[in-house]
């Protein structure tokens, strides 16, 4: 197994304390960055490393940073998106709980690279413990002179605010997140203008995910070539895969980009529980198209999954065995999007509601044969027709579940008994 980078010290109980973090090489990258690099050189370094966003979209991080306008008189803001809430995803939470200084060091370096002096770490409201951990880490870092005025004598000033969310999936989407910080209902904004040009309070703003930023210190310490040499050609570095559902050993696994999905489920996850056979896997969080059991010989990286018609997304791998009813499983996903739709765009607001109604009707045994096409039709009228990707996220599972498991939907709507259940035993 390849060496872990982000989870290297996962078994050290005190890695969250600054003394242990420093003992294990922490904040050396910050010293190096401030001393040996000009901000522009850091942007180039991150570009060269091939680091791509770990929040779901996989956009090249250095390229995003380079979109910031030069010589502007407005402040530049950095937002760390710690609003992890895509069903099946739980990596950022662990990264913040076990190693808050890793995130913080990456944040300070990133801020220096993009010439930002005020950072918001936006943590989802439910993650109270993460907020405590990060808050304590900021205090510790301040007392060591890593945050605040004239950091390590470099002349660079930085303030960091922790901002706690209010329980809405939508502000994982970057424009909604900015609306939320500005104190309004978190409705998404039309792009362009992109946040790098006009973001928070119409100032240039960079939004990066927790896992993305946690990689930064390691790239500074070991070099861009080192990072680019891990994983695949275009998807480089390691990735934290979140394994959940019907596997024997669920949990977070940090592995090189491009590990095979089969290996992830059967070797790392220990295979399927209770001697069932595998039925389906959602490989990248609840919003990405589902794969059938015969499609798991795929590498887990951005390109390989796209070739299979799915996405790496947030790498939330949700495993379902053959006792699972796909209609009932889909209803769980759809009710989520119905609940989380912000209500701005009618295709998403109305469409998610209708999809949930149709699915509930099917599960109550009142589905009509034409309901399967109707459900597909509603989804295909949401996708591509909304301001933010939440609409697409709601439509993609519906369309892929029907495409791959059509017989289960037809069967239920034709009065047949479901092929499985979603009501699993609680012992």
């Amino acid at each position: 197994m390849t060496n872990k980078i982000l989870f290297k010290y996962i078994d050290h109980p005190d890695q969250d304390k600054i003394a242990t973090y420093i003992e294990n090489g922490g904040y050396l990258a910050l010293r190096k960055a401030l001393k040996e690099f000009k901000p522009e050189e850091l942007v180039e370094l991150i570009k060269k490393s091939g680091l791509r966003g770990r929040g779901g979209a996989g956009f090249p991080t250095g390229l995003k940073w380079s979109f910031l306008p030069k010589n502007m008189n407005k402040p530049i803001y950095l937002i760390i998106n710690a609003d992890e809430s895509e069903p099946g995803t739980f990596k950022d939470r662990q990264l913040m709980e076990y190693n808050p200084h890793q995130l913080l060091e990456g944040t300070i370096i990133a801020a220096y690279a993009i010439k930002c002096h005020l950072v918001f770490i936006y943590i989802r409201g439910e993650f109270a413990y993460c907020a405590q951990q990060i808050s304590r880490a900021i205090q510790e870092a301040s007392s060591h002179g890593f945050v605040g005025k004239n950091i390590l004598g470099s002349g660079f000033d930085l303030d960091i605010h922790i901002y706690r969310g209010g329980g809405a999936y939508i502000y994982g989407e970057e424009t909604s997140l900015m609306e939320s910080i500005e104190g309004r209902r978190a409705l998404s904004r039309q792009k362009p203008p992109f946040p790098a040009i006009e973001g928070l309070w119409a100032c240039p703003t960079i939004i990066n995910n927790v896992e993305t930023i946690s990689n930064i210190p390691h790239i500074i310490n070991n070099g861009a070539e080192w990072f680019a040499s891990i994983g695949m050609a275009k998807s480089v570095g390691t990735k934290i895969y979140c394994l959940s559902g019907h596997v024997k050993r669920p949990g977070n696994y940090e592995l090189p980009m491009g590990v095979s999905l089969r290996e992830l489920i059967y070797e790392y996850g220990g295979g399927i529980i209770d001697d069932y056979a595998l039925k389906a896997v959602i490989p990248g969080g609840s919003s990405v198209p589902i794969l059938r059991a015969d499609e798991i010989d795929v590498k887990m990286d951005f390109e390989s999954l796209a070739e299979k018609g799915s996405m790496l997304g947030s790498a939330g791998v949700i495993v379902m065995h053959d006792g699972t009813c796909m209609v009932a499983a889909l209803q769980k996903l759809v009710k989520f999007y119905e609940h989380e739709s912000c209500g701005k765009c009618s295709p998403c607001r109305e469409g998610t509601n209708w999809m949930n109604k149709i699915l509930k009707r099917m599960l109550a045994g009142e589905g009509r044969p034409e309901d399967v096409d109707l459900l597909y039709d509603v989804a295909s009228n949401i996708i591509g027709n909304t301001v933010c990707p939440l609409g697409d996220a709601a439509a993609m599972p519906v369309m892929s579940f029907i495409r791959k498991f059509r017989d289960e939907f037809d069967n239920i709507c034709g009065g047949g008994k479901p092929y499985g259940t979603i009501s699993f035993p609680f012992r």
């Binding site: 605010h161 209010g166 809405a168 939320s180 104190g183 769980k332 009501s423 699993f424 609680f426």
Partner: protein, 158 residues
């Protein structure tokens, strides 16, 4: 006067903390929630006055967020995730189990005001399912035995 002097003081300190005053709304909602366990209209109006923004702005934003109960709930607010990953590990039957142990349905509060039971969407605990959040704390890899012990401890804490 609903808000404590301490909360009011904290709100005043937030007035100029951010580049724009409205940015303090969500932090203020957390403060009010921390003091009362829910966001009542009277408390929100007072908080808006203390922050120096319109009551409408405060209520408009507050009504968007589902993290904060808008009415008084039990001393222990039990929130069970019943989304996909938790469901695959028995969340629906965890909910039924809690309903029968507490003698209430989802959305209800026990007559002694001790427990409120809700189902919620993904809490980022999929690898340790099934789970529940009780007030600010997560309880993970739940079993019947664990739930029994927790409920008993909370009942005895009255």
């Amino acid at each position: 006067m609903y808000l404590s002097e301490q909360t009011r003081q904290k709100i005043m300190e937030l007035r100029d903390r951010y580049p724009a005053r409205l940015a303090a709304v969500l932090p203020v909602l957390h403060l009010v929630y921390d003091e009362f366990g829910y966001l009542g209209t009277d408390q929100l109006d007072e908080a808006a006055d203390a922050l120096g923004i319109s009551r409408l702005d405060m209520n408009e934003t507050a009504s968007f967020y589902t993290l904060f109960p808008k009415h008084k709930v039990g001393k222990y607010l039990i929130q069970v995730c019943d989304n996909i990953s938790c469901a695959l590990r028995g969340a629906d039957n965890l909910v039924s189990y809690l309903e029968s142990k507490l003698g209430i349905k989802v959305g209800g509060t026990t007559p002694d005001g001790l427990f409120t039971l809700w189902t919620v969407e993904c809490l980022g605990s999929c690898g340790t399912a099934p789970m529940m959040q009780v007030n600010d704390k997560y309880y993970e890899r739940l079993t019947r035995e664990k739930v029994d012990k927790l409920l008993e401890a909370w009942r005895n804490s009255k």
